[in-house]
Symmetry: D4
Subunit: 252 residues, 8 copies
């Protein structure tokens, strides 16, 4: 493209001022193309981190993005704040357990023809984080299977879902307490596992540090880890992999 | 398959004893199919963790696996031990920087037609871990582009490789010291990033803890993390994703 | 007993001096009876912690105890030191993997009629600690079943030993890395589980801290934990419980 | 049982469909028998972790379990929530200090003929955790002796209970602050000691970490440890051992 | 000066009493001159740490200092307390985001002719700390350029301010989460960088420890670090350097 | 400059190819000018981190840089390696205590006319780190005053150097053990203090963590901190500030 | 005494029952004499830890002890609770800053003839802990000199109290933030220094851990340390030493 | 004294130069008198920290101090280095277990008439640290009673020394592992206890951190703590208190 611009300057087809504007855009593109063009190319929504933002702040961002026609995902929004936003932006949906607020231009896929993401959670106290992962992946365009309450202390519950787990394209495994579930799942599947430690635990759990260390030290090979309680990160990574896979290698 | 077995028992085609053997295999299959059939289906080699094993121990495992026709990757083998193994198993190759010993049935791909894994390293002291990641991914069947010495303290070096990085299917980013490189890369690409902290650092680095925490706390969205110095884990995860993607969603 | 002594003083059957000696013994008994009478009553050997002691030091203790007719267990003795001791005390036996040196008056039981202790280990690198537990329990008089290399990343291996594990009186579960095995075992059995974390691991494993935290945070109910690499503690606790149980509640 | 099913298929006594149903049950049994049959066989109640559950949630679980005739223990229930539950489930009992809610089919034993569990606590601030241990053991069917306020800084108080402690089948020792009590008790008894660190302490106590480390590092041999403030775990382990012992080795 | 005093005593120009008073002042000067004379010499205001002080306490200090004609900076004052102080001391100004209350005798410089301090912040949640740094530097007499929301995960935003950053005399770089921004800035400028970690983060961020370690481990050379959330310290150090520089080496 | 290039293209003074080369340089300049032009403009030498590099590696870098006429500072070089390098590069100098190898084009200043950096060390065991700081500052062109063995436990030694310390342009304060020296110095001077914690200490010193925390928590205002044992960082920051100051605000 | 009892039994002067009671008392004495006789012998009051106790609980203890004629010190009592107690026990005194409630039989000494304890505090935020130390020492019978607000960042303030500090029998030095004051004091005096770290600090202070480590690592010789915020412990230790000294070696 | 000097200047008895020299000495005295006059007044030897010093370095210091007639204590000297020093300084004595080298002008006291310091150690592995404490106290002029191998896991051994411990003027209690011994001793005596944690331990002992935390959290009142393995500090503090006491309050 640089050739083109210079050639047009040389030929007089572009003025110096016009060329400068073009090159500025070009230069910017080097770093910025990901940001500005990503959602257009891949249907990925804009992500807004809601914690610490007021309802008014969220409303103004949400409206602006919706007006641009871009899908939007707002994470970590509590119920009260969400209701205020919904009154102002009635097209948005709110998922209470996941504390996620979103607006999607297109319909979400309802079947497994493109494969699916398995979101697996150890205990009922991990559900908030697991739902954040699941809804994130759905808003990003993936089909999700939820497989909950299958912790390692009652491992037969996990095995009754074995085939469903093994058929997934990628798994997000959410666990607090001892955080051992990703290791067990990782030994049973041949697809990537994103492990999400939660801060659910008592005593020497240290707000999730114990579960985090467990997951980092897993003996199973295909496991990588995101931050404590980072359900969004788990869902985002899973959706990213899932969609790369099912577009057959076509760049998102 | 259970139907078949029972039907054959009913019809007398199978004796009770034969049926029991079949069902044992079937039951076992529930858990074990991953292990025993994974390499056959996906061409993934057997992984042997070499640290703490004697040369003799490695030789006997290596020969047995090679005899079964399965590719083999032995990690964390120092040079002296490797030379002993190579005298006994002359078909094996050794990669000194990566401390990896391997034997592959088939040729590794030499071109980028199937996409590639980018292995990116911050400093020269991170190379041992980066090479472990790169060679692991190669032995697992992926093409790898190495982009080294591009740490954030001289960020123009990273930008001179920007396009090559953005074109990869997946990146492994290896960094010690402050461990900031994955955050920067994660903000520039739209594919998954596997972050590998290294124990390279001084003073308040605490054997890699500092870099690990940095990566877990990254603001960029598509990043997940493996254990400190776990180059193998980085390469394994990257190859797993890369091959899922380039087989167009076909189950590995 | 105090009554008796005083009564005898009153009646003149004991002199004041004799009474003082008796009462001294009695008073001492309050604290000391455990120490001096425990091995006599229960056949438990004397325990000597070998680390940091010279061969000569061990020899002099070992001879003295053997002369008193009491069984002896010396832990943490490396091979070279053991060989020196064995030359001086030829009746002793040495178990190299467990680094344990011992002498037993009576024969160890060879069958399961009194139940058994299951010593379960996750990986081959945990064997040193597992053997320390197993040999400790054996020298203390328990029959032991060893079930090794059944880590959670290949959980079908564990299930092929399920019945043997469930039939044990008590289990010692030894694991490094993510340390998840005790949780899985604890969910499958209805007997007490003693969990032993090992310092086997890499990166963010922190010399066994990760495995220790995992075990303390286990969701399974009947699990208690001993110190990192404390195979002796695991075996001692298990033998203590096992023998209490199989003597039918008779005080050891 | 597998033989029987196959034989009946062979003989035509079972259809293929019927055989499949039977085998599914059988297969499930491999993992699940512990869960479904444990309480039936041993009279152990169902355990419900109450923290984070609403009163309504507890009520519905409590009723269902009571209806099945199974004893129930709900831990970590504060007073207000307990009162709501008690209005709905009037057969339940609530123990305020232990924050435990329970329903037992059968009467608890009131004498020591089957031995007893000693629950020993260092200070008055440790009582909440100690009572959780004591009530748990009682609801699980054990007789409990409470020996409180016997911390090591006034060790003569401990000694005035020495015989009562030494006669127990198993001890639960609860301590915060420096956490030294289990070491002292462990040196005075010949039965298993379950140590429970509490988060009671100030300054460099770090929410119980100090007491936890003390207990893990104890020089006394027969000690194992559960998580900080885990009174339930202490009581559960003690009752498990106590009942194994006093049923004379009969499998619970 | 000692010479002078003694000479005057010798000559009778000073009495012994007068000499003692002078020498006392002199001796005191050895330590105290910094304290009492610093603000006079350099126009630096008195610093009052407001946290934990009541409004009344602040009012009495503020009035006293203003009466002495010395500029005053009170840090960590919340809005409510500030309003009470402002009613009593109407000449003071309050900066809400920075939580800083101050009174300046002289006008603050409004242009860049003396160079400027760049205060650079990674995310919007770091603004409170960044404003504390910026206002501190301004009250201390420096011109400040604020460059906010330029975190490393969208690094093109940083580059659009590159020249402004490179032209500063000194930079204060404020970042939470992974804390990587100072490393990137440090690699792009040739002036000193004061790094301020913030406690903004989630999960394994540990109240700013993660960002602190990142900054201490930076590969870039001209970086030094102050305590977590210590915006005041960042602004103070920057103003100190800035003014030393622009007074051309004249001692402040 | 972009205007110029485009204007020349328009006028035909530059071909498209020539313009592309110019713009490439320009674009690169955005990030890279610091790196490539810094030493030219400011006389700062190239910095090479010597730890982990072989003598041969250092020789090749050292020769190349010297050939380019740029001064060179190689840190963390032990004596043996240094001697090998000195045989190959005889113009280099080696400072054994500081473990620093360097070559300077121009003479170092020998007087205080431009002010000086004070390098202050608490104990004799901190000297290695202090010398690394001092020699670094000297090679970078600053005059250095060394004030050693003035730890806070004998604070009169510090006061006998008070005036020399107060006259410095900037101080580097190096301390291990309790690390309290920077706080005391910071309260006595009105210039910036760079604090360098050392790993010198015993017991609960944790390889310098104790001294690091002390320095970060200092009550004195003008203190910033570099990593544990990072004498180079201390010297570099001090020289950077010193030279900014004494060039009277002229950009280095 | 044992001789006497037995002799009297022998002679019939004591019955067996009477002898048993005497010996029980005697045996108890072995451990208990400290507790029951200490306050009688040394005039030390009974210590009650008030935190976590209700006003009613404190009232009943306070009355009982006062009735026994023993002085009483109740620590950690907040104002509201204290007022309730004072209404019931009007002879008690309350010290609000120290949060200490006490009753003393005898007058406290008002002069320095028996020496004094110096309680030295770094900052105004450390006063609560310092007052707890000072009032504790006073209630225990020592004269106390308070020397406050003499932190190391303005060390001339400390020196203006130097002689008063050096003349004390023992010092309690209370400091938060960097915790450096005990080191400086320890280097200036030749009497024992009890260091009390406080939890006063910000950022990387970690609730007093930083100050605690500083004090443990002090280079000065005569320093020992108590727990974070443990003003009581500081005052108790100081009073204990002070009174041992000024009774001229007579056992307290 | 200042009056005198000034008066003599006034009267001409002193020249200005002479007065300056006197005042310099006087000024210095303010801080330094402790250092220079302490050993003269109290017979305390000079302390030299031997670790990290060469034999030659120690020899030159040792000779110089001996020549000045001052007693000398050199700590942390290994055997080989000590032998070299002893050849050069034959009057010195070396204590191998304590790794202490010393020379005393006067005889050490051999009886208990002045009271004694009790040095109490938990296990045989703590002896090195205990001996460092004991020999330090002896060289400083105190009589020492050694009471070793009395750990809490066999507490009757401690009680057999109860009276000897209770009669001491001050105790140093040395313990590794769980570090519980000072709490028990502290509850049995009415004199000050200096607790010394040792790095003796395994697994979750963390080089003495566990024992250190235990001691800081002790429930017993008269305990203060020195750094891990700091036997010298324990002995120094004990001797300081012991001698203050037995000189009847006369300033040392």
């Amino acid at each position: 493209m640089l050739d083109d611009v210079l050639e047009q300057v040389r030929s007089g087809a572009l003025s110096v001022e016009e060329a400068k504007a073009r090159l500025a855009a070009f230069e910017d593109l080097g770093f910025a193309k990901v940001d500005h063009q990503r959602s257009k190319r891949q249907g990925f929504p804009e992500i807004v981190y809601g914690e610490g933002k007021t309802a008014d702040h969220i409303i103004s961002i949400a409206c602006a993005l919706q007006a641009r026609g871009s899908s939007v995902l707002v994470t970590r929004v509590d119920k009260e704040k969400a209701e205020t936003v919904l009154r102002a932006c009635p097209d948005y949906s709110y998922h209470e357990a996941a504390r996620v607020l979103y607006w999607k231009k297109e319909q979400m896929p309802a079947d497994d023809s493109q494969g699916y993401v398995a979101v697996i959670a150890a205990g009922t106290s991990d559900l908030r984080v697991a739902e954040e992962a699941a809804v994130t992946a759905e808003v990003l365009g993936s089909t999700v299977h939820r497989i909950y309450d299958v912790g390692v202390a009652g491992i037969h519950r996990l095995f009754s879902h074995l085939e469903e787990i093994q058929q997934a394209t990628v798994s997000v495994v959410v666990a607090g307490m001892e955080g051992a579930l990703p290791s067990v799942v990782g030994g049973l599947v041949s697809h990537p596992v994103i492990a999400v430690p939660t801060s659910v635990g008592y005593g020497a759990h240290f707000q999730g540090l114990s579960a985090l260390l467990t997951m980092l030290n897993s003996c199973a090979s295909g496991i990588s880890v995101v931050n404590i309680d980072n359900g969004f990160g788990g869902g985002y990574n899973a959706a990213l992999i899932h969609q790369l896979v099912h577009r057959g290698g076509t760049r998102i």
